[in-house]
Amino acid sequence: MTLARRRRLVERVMFALSVGCMATALSVLFFLLGYITYQGISSLSLSFFTNLPAPVGEAGGGMANALLGSLKLLIAAACLGIPVGFLGGVYLAEYGGGKLGFLVRYAADVLNGVPSIVIGITVYALVVRPIGHFSTLAGGVALGLMIIPVALRSTEEFLRLVPASLREAAIALGAPRWVVIVRVVIPAGMRGIATGLVLALARVAGETAPLLFTAFNNRYWSEGWTQPTASLPVMIFTYAIAPYQDWHDQAWAAGLVLLALVLGANLIARFVLRRGGPIQGRA
């Protein structure tokens, strides 16, 4: 074999391997989607969305309380995480050029990497223990803490996309810096920022570990904000490791619903970004 032919052969082999890697990764995705849909759809029914969990062996149970619980947890998390992350992101984008900005950015990235279970036990020590019991609020705090670094970095990223000429024009008209930011820069970047926040919420919506010792679980409706609550991810976990077939079926149904919600939010967010562009008035 001549050298040239060998080099070409090596190239072909390596490229084939690389395409093979890609195909492997994608086939996992399609298998996952297909299998969960297949398993979940057979145990999904209207009662899943309207009923409380039924005792083992009894048909017709649902996860209505877990659906509502997840929603409440997300609302609580959004109330904590979004304002902090959003304003922190505004600081980084508008004032964060110096050393302090670098440090905040770095700390946010590190906080983002803290395992979710560690967040869970910390919130247990800081919130659950002093209060004395598990609650929706504590779960919301745990999820909210996880939103902050994500919301912060995505807000910063989208504000940076706002062209400097817009800021300069507003400043040239004599507007104070903060008015420029609030009235011009933030509205211009709002579409991107909102998408980023939706993605951050979608991310924590599937988190299980931080809820185990904060929101805990509940077989019934959770009233108010100070009682333990069921949530979709924790339900999936509890039902999947239990030894009962009908609970497994329910876990698949819940898995399908959770996956549909999370991937749906991702699809919509990315679609909005792609169609309109992150910045208002620019494609």
Binding site: A25, F86, V90, P115, R177, F237
Partner: protein, 345 residues
């Protein structure tokens, strides 16, 4: 477009069109000509806004510090009682309150190592495919799909792991054992749950992550580098191997470290498939236990103070490990971005 013309009439042509502003008349816009009271007010407004935003930005430090502090405080009893031996003794006995975290540290490190073993080659290979081989029309939607995989919640991976992967590993493991069982790493009964299964689930979870970051790093390599190598007669693969990958090396390392940090802290999927037995066995088929998994399983039933403190200390160890690894990884990725910016100029 800028048109350079020869100067006629000996008037120098400005290189850029600038609106002529007679320097004698000051620019007086509505907002600029303000009284000193209004100026004070706007200065207060500016200052107040900046301070508020700064406060929220600084909360990131406060939260990180609070997490560290509360972990140290609640685990202090265990830290004092067991000292450093906590990290290298392997008795985990809640009844006699003797705690050593070695089995969990071992399980965490081993399962993550197995995950990296699978995930790094596949991830980098796929990233090369996306960034270097495929035309953008094809690569963009595929990247989109890969990024969807990142969004899949970990409990879903656990669900599929329990009901699909565990039986598969059990069947294949039992079938293959007569052939490979003489090796210590494949010895012993195959339950299906165990270190290998956990490693595979973790690998599946972190592959999209490796692909997505590596792809970004590869795309950041300046095109001139590739052009130069191709012009010297290198094949496309030789260009990738000899020029693109070395250029992107530290960024890819960063991607691997970030994936590692994720794998180390992953809780739900691992808890569901690793078998949860605090023993150190050479066999990959043997059940094991990881730090996040022991927290998930035993935290709620920790009755005594020492038990709770020991679990908190595991959390503290996990926190320290991931903070260090994330810190290093971020620096590596940042380094590449800076280098690239320098080389592109």
């Amino acid at each position: 477009m800028e048109v350079v013309r020869a100067p006629r009439l000996r008037i120098p042509v400005p290189s850029r069109v600038v609106a002529p502003v007679p320097s004698s008349t000051p620019v007086r816009g509505a907002g600029v000509a303000v009284s000193s009271a209004a100026r004070l007010r706007r200065r207060i407004g500016d200052f107040g806004f900046r301070a508020t935003a700064l406060g929220f930005a600084l909360s990131v430090f406060v939260i990180t510090g609070l997490i560290a502090l509360s972990l140290v405080r609640t685990s202090w009893r265990s830290v004092v009682t067991f000292g450093w031996s906590f990290l290298w003794t392997s008795t985990w006995d809640p009844v006699f309150e003797h705690f050593g975290a070695l089995p969990f540290i071992y399980g965490t490190l081993m399962s993550s190592a197995i995950a990296l073993l699978f995930a790094v080659p596949i991830g980098v290979g796929a990233a090369i495919c996306l960034a270097e081989l495929l035309p953008q029309r094809l690569a963009d939607p595929l990247t989109f799909l890969v990024e969807l995989l990142v969004a899949v919640p970990s409990v879903i991976y656990g669900l599929v792991g329990v009901f699909v992967l565990v039986p598969v590993v059990r069947t294949l493991g039992n079938a293959a054992q007569p052939l490979i069982g003489f090796l210590p790493i494949f010895r012993g009964p195959v339950y299906g749950v165990g270190l290998l299964t956990a490693g595979i689930v973790l690998a599946v979870m972190i592959v999209p992550f490796v692909i997505s970051i590596s792809r970004e790093v590869l795309l950041a390599v300046p095109q001139t580098q590739r052009d130069a190598a191709l012009a010297l007669g290198a094949t496309r693969w030789e260009t990738i191997q000899g020029v693109v990958l070395p250029f992107a090396r530290s960024g890819i390392f960063g991607a691997v470290f970030l994936a590692l940090a994720r794998a180390l802290g992953e809780t739900m999927a691992v808890t569901m498939v690793i078998g949860n037995r605090p023993e150190i066995a050479a066999s990959l088929f043997a059940p094991a236990y990881t730090m996040p998994a022991v927290l998930a399983n035993e935290f709620a039933e920790a009755t005594s103070d020492v038990y709770l403190a020991a679990l908190m200390e595991i959390g503290l160890v996990l926190f320290c490990i991931t903070v260090i690894i994330n810190g290093v990884a971020r620096l590596l990725v940042m380094n590449v971005q800076r280098n690239t910016a320098g080389a592109a100029e």
